[in-house]
């Protein structure tokens, strides 16, 4: 079963445990500046929103890369940057409509979420369930369940 990250911004408290987990997984350092998932704080609305790569089926970053440095990980469906091939031209950062591929000056390469090979550290670290890793075909399941729970079939149940 293919899985994907599922984000419920209403549950995010802005603790940044996900950002620390991401940077530690990829660089061995607790450092939000190196995180591939970012929490955005819309202070005046009281909203906090986690945002990262959605692993597009038709990945614009992958298609734009002139050296084929971005490939599909068949096991997870993640679009993964091969650092040894990446030349740091940044075309993918322009191609991505969502801004989730970014250049890293330290390495001269780009970075993006690779789903940690199928066990995303951000989802494990999230204390509130705002970030989960679920069946890619059923990211709407929880919402469906919530609405289903509101369905009024009491008449039939009692008949």
């Amino acid at each position: 079963m293919q899985k994907s990250l599922h984000i419920d911004a209403n549950k995010c408290t802005g603790c940044l445990q996900c950002e620390m987990a991401c940077s530690y997984e990829n660089y061995g350092v607790f450092n939000p500046a190196k995180s591939r998932i970012k929490i955005f704080n819309f202070e005046h609305e009281g909203r906090k929103v986690p945002y990262t790569c959605t692993q597009c089926a038709e990945a614009w970053c992958l298609n734009a890369c002139p050296v084929d440095a971005i490939r599909v990980d068949v096991a997870t469906g993640a679009k993964v940057v091969n650092e040894s091939t990446c030349v740091g031209c940044k075309v993918c950062t322009i191609a991505c409509p969502f801004g989730t591929v970014n250049y890293v000056a330290d390495t001269g390469k780009v970075q993006k979420c690779d789903l940690c090979g199928g066990d995303p550290a951000c989802a494990t670290a999230c204390p509130t369930g705002a970030i989960t890793y679920v069946d890619a075909d059923w990211t709407g399941l929880d919402k469906m369940r919530a609405w289903a729970g509101k369905t009024d079939n009491a008449t039939r149940a009692s008949a």
């Binding site: 603790c15 445990q17 530690y24 607790f30 939000p32 500046a33 202070e43 005046h44 509130t128």
Partner: protein, 615 residues
């Protein structure tokens, strides 16, 4: 490394910023943050120094667990000699600023001297420089944060700053970071203002790595988070209701100080409680509370984010206050509300916003308003002195006085002195509900006896965050003790004071201690920090820190006489509730406490005690 091992020394007089290595010998004796920065402070500053003179220093400091995934590991503290108290001050704040300072590679910043003109410190990893802040002087903390982010073209920079209160010499000005978190008490912002230091802006991209045993640390941090999640207070009560969960509880106990401690129960407590914050308003059908919020690394998330009622008289035609913002927390709701008899939730939030915006402590401010209202009701202060009618319960007066204090206008200047100096000025020093000139927080010590001893012996003046015996006396954490008796409170207070000093020195939030004991943080500290951090060593560090602070205060001129409560709490019995008829038994507890502490009858640590603690 848990410690970055780097200290930034900023000479404001000469405009220089120089790095130096952290004293690792001291780190082993004082851990970090509160303990370690206070060690630096007492080693470098004359205890008799005038807090507002250039010879006073101000230290911003992180702990070894700041910037790590340990739950709540995002704290920083400000250590100085307090403007309000003249005692050692250590004010702790969450938000994101502390972790950012750590990520930039600094354990602490020591500010010395006084800048000839307004400046702010800009830090980008190892690059630190003082920049002109003339254009920011006179601006609020909110405007300052926005202005610096724009000027740096960097929305990710984290900022702490003073507002107009810190510039105008309000004696309980605080240092606000991330819009609504604050190093709040004792006037640390007043000291910052006296140095012409407007703000510190930090961008840190180095992160924290090289912990002693990272794998063991992550496992210990995860175990700690599980304990917090499964605890009723940290897992459910605080995230759902915030600290405001206490309003009705403490009121029912008869320990909610009301109208300058004349009463111990507030008839309108429910209207300003967590429950009220969650109810839909008749005016717009929305609840006051928008959401909860976490500080950096915190898995509790007790913070409150609220929206004020746009139709409330305080914010009519002031859209700048209509957005979501921080508050109300229990202490602010009490001080702005019950302490002066105001039961208008929206008015409290407005005053709270002004406190955040212009950087002053809502506890001291609210309590000072309460004292002023009592002076007004006694006829000592007249309408023309204050510029308005100011009886207990006047929401209008509260809101106007908050603005006047922020701007340093009219009677706001007097309120800015704090209750002790104000009541002294009007010949009624006994009406200041304070210890060492710092106002009480939200627990009446007639109904919670241990808090009387806590307040009297707190090294930074009256404060609940030096030994929160409410946990034991009210909530039964770690064991239930009877709040109405003095027996056993000396030992209880000492144990809480010493343990709290360790939490405050680690980079953690004291709210974790509703669920965590030292045994829960010991594995986290030991896995992160070199040096073999056993329970025994941590216990000794906590006690050493408390005694070090005490020695500084003694040298500053404080004596056993200053470990006392205002006469009201010793002679006017509680009128209602479970503590009806009781006064606080401080005179009985004090000598017991000195004995438990190993101090002589004058509150001076004995030679044996100093030797045992290697002081």
């Amino acid at each position: 490394m848990a410690w970055t091992r780097k200290v930034l020394r900023v000479d404001l007089t000469n405009g220089t910023c120089k790095p130096e290595p952290l004293n690792m010998e001291w780190a082993q004796q004082y851990l970090g943050q509160r303990g370690l920065a206070t060690k630096y402070f007492v080693a470098e500053v004359d205890p008799k120094v005038d807090p507002l003179s250039p010879a006073n220093k101000l230290i911003m400091t992180t702990g070894p667990l700041t910037g790590t995934p340990a739950s709540t590991g995002g704290r920083y503290s400000v250590v100085t000699k307090g403007a309000l108290t003249g005692a050692i001050a250590c004010s702790n704040s969450g938000g994101y600023f502390g972790a950012e300072l750590k990520f930039a590679g600094w354990d602490m910043i020591i500010f010395e001297g006084k800048s000839p003109k307004p400046v702010y410190l800009s830090i980008e990893n190892d690059k630190a420089e003082l920049k002109d802040a003339s254009h920011l002087w006179g601006k609020t903390t909110w405007q300052t944060e926005e202005g610096i982010k724009k000027a740096h073209q960097d929305p990710q920079v984290r900022i702490c700053s003073i507002g107009r209160a810190g510039e105008n010499g309000v004696m309980y000005a605080c240092i606000v970071n991330d819009l609504h978190r604050a190093a709040g008490r004792s006037g640390v912002g007043t000291v910052m203002g006296s140095k012409n230091l407007k703000a510190v802006a930090v961008r840190g991209t180095l992160g924290v790595s090289g912990l002693k045993d990272a794998k063991a640390f992550i496992a210990a941090a995860a175990a700690g988070k599980k304990v917090l999640a499964e605890n009723a207070v940290t897992g459910q009560g605080l995230p759902t209701y915030g600290t405001q969960v206490l309003m009705n509880v403490i009121n029912e106990m008869g320990a909610l100080p009301t109208r300058n401690h004349r009463d111990v129960q507030f008839e309108e407590a429910r209207k300003i409680s967590a429950e009220a914050m969650a109810e839909k308003r008749p005016t717009d059908g929305k609840s006051h509370l928008v959401t909860n919020a976490a500080c950096f690394g915190c898995t509790i998330a007790c913070g409150r984010i609220s929206k004020i009622d746009e139709t409330h008289f305080s914010v009519v035609n002031k859209p700048e206050y209509w957005g979501a913002s921080g508050g109300l927390e229990y202490e602010a709701a009490w001080a702005l509300g019950a302490a002066n008899g105001v039961g208008d939730l929206e008015a409290l939030q407005y005053a709270n916003l002004i406190c955040n915006e212009d950087g002053f402590d809502p506890i001291s401010f609210g309590a000072t308003v309460g004292a002023a209202m009592e002076l007004y009701e006694l006829g000592i202060l007249k309408k023309e002195d204050i510029g308005m009618d100011a009886p207990f319960g006047s929401a209008k007066a509260l809101c106007e006085l908050a603005q006047m204090t922020a701007k340093g206008e009219g009677f706001g200047k007097i309120l800015g002195l704090g209750s002790a100096r104000m009541c002294e000025k009007y010949g009624k020093p006994e009406l200041s509900m304070s210890v060492k000139k710092q106002e009480f927080p939200a627990y009446d010590s007639r109904g919670i006896q241990g808090m009387g001893l806590t307040y009297a012996t707190s090294n930074r003046g009256a404060c609940h965050l030096r030994s929160y015996t409410v946990a034991s006396e009210v909530l039964g954490i770690p064991v239930k003790t009877d709040p109405l008796v003095t027996e056993g409170k000396a030992e209880l207070v000492k144990a809480f004071q010493d343990a709290t000093a360790v939490f405050d020195s680690a980079g953690l939030c004291i709210f974790t201690s509703f669920a965590w004991s030292l045994a829960d943080i010991q594995p986290q500290i030991d896995a992160a920090c070199e040096g073999g951090w056993t329970m025994e060593k941590l216990g000794e560090v906590g006690e050493r820190i408390y005694n070090m602070e005490r020695l500084f205060n003694n040298a500053a001129g404080f004596t056993a006489k200053d470990d006392d409560l205002p006469p009201r709490l010793k002679t006017e019995p509680a009128k209602t509730g479970p503590a009806k008829g009781l006064v606080n038994g401080i005179d009985k507890m004090r000598p017991e406490y000195y004995q438990v502490r190993g101090w002589d009858a004058n509150g001076v640590p004995t030679k044996d005690t100093l030797g045992r603690l290697k002081l």
